[in-house]
Amino acid sequence: MKTTNRQHLAQLALQNTSLLLFIVVFVVFGLLAPRFFALQTFETILKQASYIGIVAIGMTFVILTAGIDLSVGSNMYVSATVAGLVMQELKAPVWLGLLVCLSVGMLFGGVNAFLITRVKIIPFIATLGTMVAGKGIGLLFSRSIQIPYPDSVLELGSSRLFGLIPLPIVIFLGVALAAQLVLTMTPIGRQIYAVGNDAEAAKKAGLSVGRVLTSVYIVSGLMAALGGFVSVAQQGVVHPGFGEGYEFNAIAAAVLGGASLFGGVGSVLPGTLLGAVLIQMIQTGLIFTKVDIYIQPLITAAIIFSAVLLDAFRNIQLQKLRRRNIRIDKGALVGAGDD
């Protein structure tokens, strides 16, 4: 009886590693720098997590199908650049700029989808290719020059809904909620999980695997563009290095949030949301505790790596715990084997 209880506890803990990690990191930084507990700090963290979080939500869709999208960083750069140029050169209004940005992002995702489902290139290579090509196209447009956004965008980026919650946070949470609804409540959402679980079986069950894959890469492209816009709206300019390396953070956020790179497992709420906020919390916490700025990336990477390692370990352990007990112990018959 005792052992089963302990096993249940272990299982519960393993299933919620990201939440546990979140709490641990939060408490540790709070103890090291009491200012960390302030509501203001939390707001800053959420705000700064918002754009990576949005990109990571798109990434989650892709990872759920056992795919990967390495091109999100380049996508952010291209779509933000094109939108910036449209607003700067053609004096287009902000709504049109946003529309252009999102359209370019979806088109980018569409190209990935085409390469993967039609040309049948594996996602890793296909998106590695578009990552390099996309960056090149972006630089072709921008000529490596910073592109300023109109002030109205910057104002939007620092505005608050009902004068209360910063707009980036509202968008982040709104997108997360919508994404979670799509994943759990709609046919396509459930089919994404099915394809990630067993693409061969999905084909046999009559699902259009190509259609499912196409939609996740387009969603990823859309989210990358939106995340990029939200980010630029906070900074005001698109500098030539914009978006570089963001794919790593986006993947890390999804995986920290419990998405499995093998597909079929993961969630946006709480999963990826938690993962994105966790990464930002670590980065902010390191600044608060005044850790050497050159050491900070190393610590961030170490925490991400250990979380992912923990995840691999966790899956093995969970599998072991789930394995049915086949022996009925004659001494302790009670409660054995119920799992």
Partner: protein, 503 residues
Amino acid sequence: MSDAILTFDHVEKSFFGVRVLKGISLDVPRGKVLGLVGENGAGKSTLMNLMGGVHAPDRGQMLLNGAPYAPRTPSDANAAGIAFIHQELNLFTNLSIAENIFIDGFPRLRWLPMLDRSHMRARTKQYLEAVELHVSPDTLVEKLSPGERQLVEIAKALSFDARIIIFDEPTTSLTARETERLFRLIERLRSDGASIVYISHILPDVMRLADEIAVLRDGELVAHGDKEAFTINRMIALMVGRAIEQLYPPRRSAPTTTPVLEVQDISQQGIVEAITFTLHKGEILGVFGLMGSGRSELARILFGLDEHARGEIRVAGKPYTRPSARRSIDAGMAFVTENRREEGLLMDIAIAENIGLVALPRYAAATVTAVNERRYFTEITDVAASLAIKGGELRQQAVKTLSGGNQQKAVIAKWLLDKPAVLIIDEPTRGVDVGAKYEIYSIINDLAAAGTGVLFISSELEELMGVCDRMLVMSNGEIQATFSRDEFEKERILRAAFRENAA
């Protein structure tokens, strides 16, 4: 014969230029069970794949209720009322039962793009009741046993009101009780008017269930008629093309008394308890037990795939600590798992490479040298031939294109190449036809004659009695009894196997 619900009219099918179906004409009877038998690779699954919309025939046609029928996808077949329950189940383990049933046509909430969960739940509940699976529709499929998963597949067939249900070797991973439940269900489906095609290598099951029997050999229909016209021996003769006098080859060697595998008091909580036995050089030691008795788990522990808390293993006299698969192989152990799809084979890789995988290091002279390609390939070809693996070019064709039974043979071949000192072999004849079973027994015999100690795990008592020198009987994770060959007696062995829950 009776009226046909579906007719195959001279259908032909080739893969890579090899004719797999050579002009088959067959009537599937309405409202009856048609038993379909044949050797591994005879074309049974391929024929059903035509009906299920997985493949299209190259030539010939099918008629459904007299009208031409040409499904292009499995969903076309479903829409026409044909359900195909595959050899390997086709469910999404990360989704709920209800979601699995409706995956390709979710009911929606009026005009919204949302799932109508309550509707799904209610309907699923109804189907689950019909198949007597008493769990919630929201249960995740990963929580279900193989037998329960199969019931979900059947429930799915009910959901689109299938008039024809194809079962392709449905009992391979079921316990005796689950099998019994499946048979009752099939009989009920038939009395409700469904037409059933039942494929199996377990001929007594076919005899019991079928109203009509059809026999395929090498892509041709060699016999079709009412069950009464068949006996098991006649079926075998038709399948193989000659009469088989003996089911088991005679032993040509006697076991020695030199131990090759000594197991002392192996225990792991909740799995096995105090397992002690010795396997000798040249001995075939059977391990009998019902499904869930701990046989396969013991095998995994011995081979180092799972850990154990207590006990000692000695291989060829040397203590063997910290077992791992690689070390086991180096120590001369080989393990044919019961789970060929997930553990035994790399499905997308060529047959030859799969077979050569374990023995590969032996063909490289030093640490960094090229593999002796020619010798390597000749030996692979020999092994494949001795097991009669049917299925095209060894070096090119992927294992997944092999028929179910031939995949099983490839797993066995993989380990034979290495001429192991200890061979642990778990359910090697499951899903394998009679002729190939004989081949497998002969190979086990030959290995034993050459000095290999064989641990032969099976839930088929007959074959263990036919092949083994000695038999351990397990239940509840313990060895309940040991019998030597002259003590083999069905009833006593079964009694030991059922001896569980003594408390």
